[in-house]
Symmetry: C2
Subunit: 135 residues, 2 copies
Amino acid sequence: METAAARTEAAGSDLPFDVFARACPSRETLEHVTGRWGSLTVGALREGPCRFNELRRRVEGVSEKMLSQTLHALERDGIVHREAQPTNPPRVDYELTPLGIEVADRLLALIHCVEGSMAQVLTARGAYDATRAGR
Amino acid sequence: METAAARTEAAGSDLPFDVFARACPSRETLEHVTGRWGSLTVGALREGPCRFNELRRRVEGVSEKMLSQTLHALERDGIVHREAQPTNPPRVDYELTPLGIEVADRLLALIHCVEGSMAQVLTARGAYDATRAGR
DNA sequence: CAGCATCCAGCACGATACTG
DNA sequence: CAGTATCGTGCTGGATGCTG
């Protein structure tokens, strides 16, 4: 009972996918979803469908390039749906798929947990830094 | 109602911390927790306290350096507690703090959600790639 | 065992410019 | 508006070697 697979099974889950295993494709998807911009993009889309530039405004600080890249990865994974109207000027709406909503809800639970704990975190940081002040 | 802060408030949350805002410290903590190795480290520690090298084995593929770095960040944020015994050879145990457990549970919910959706994800990827086969 | 220090390759990312 | 293309760089992160 040393391997990741063995532990996963011991934990009651016999799914074929295990993020703790080196080469599992679920790691990629998890990274797309939890990545620096992925998590914020998915979180922002939970508020409802959104166009490209509006999304850029929701996710403060994201560059055009990174948002585009992030959206492509999420679309490929079936988390985000892209709806393009062939009008002029072009209009493209992004929205979460049903799967995306599932993921977004867990993600937002985590985000809110972190946001709500920031006072504690900041205190912990102060204490940690204080013990190392002299070095 | 354009800014991240305004939206957050409109969404019913009037917390002072908003990850969608450019310079919010919660972004850092979220990244520590959701980062490539952070998420796996926190997830692995949810199984119980663990020594350095055992942790390295649980989180397949992590290098010494990255694990060390990750643990420091998590310790500083008050997610992980480090307990060192001054014995020889040295023995150090890492474990989640109460806050860490809160976070880990949300994180694992997300991880299991992703793991359980991988069949769907892989199908979506196939479909996506198929439509772009010719370019 | 539990780690820090150093080196360095690669790519993640931002800035800028251009297209339909 | 909604992107793609290209370029430059600073940081990420792996490999290696050393310490207590």
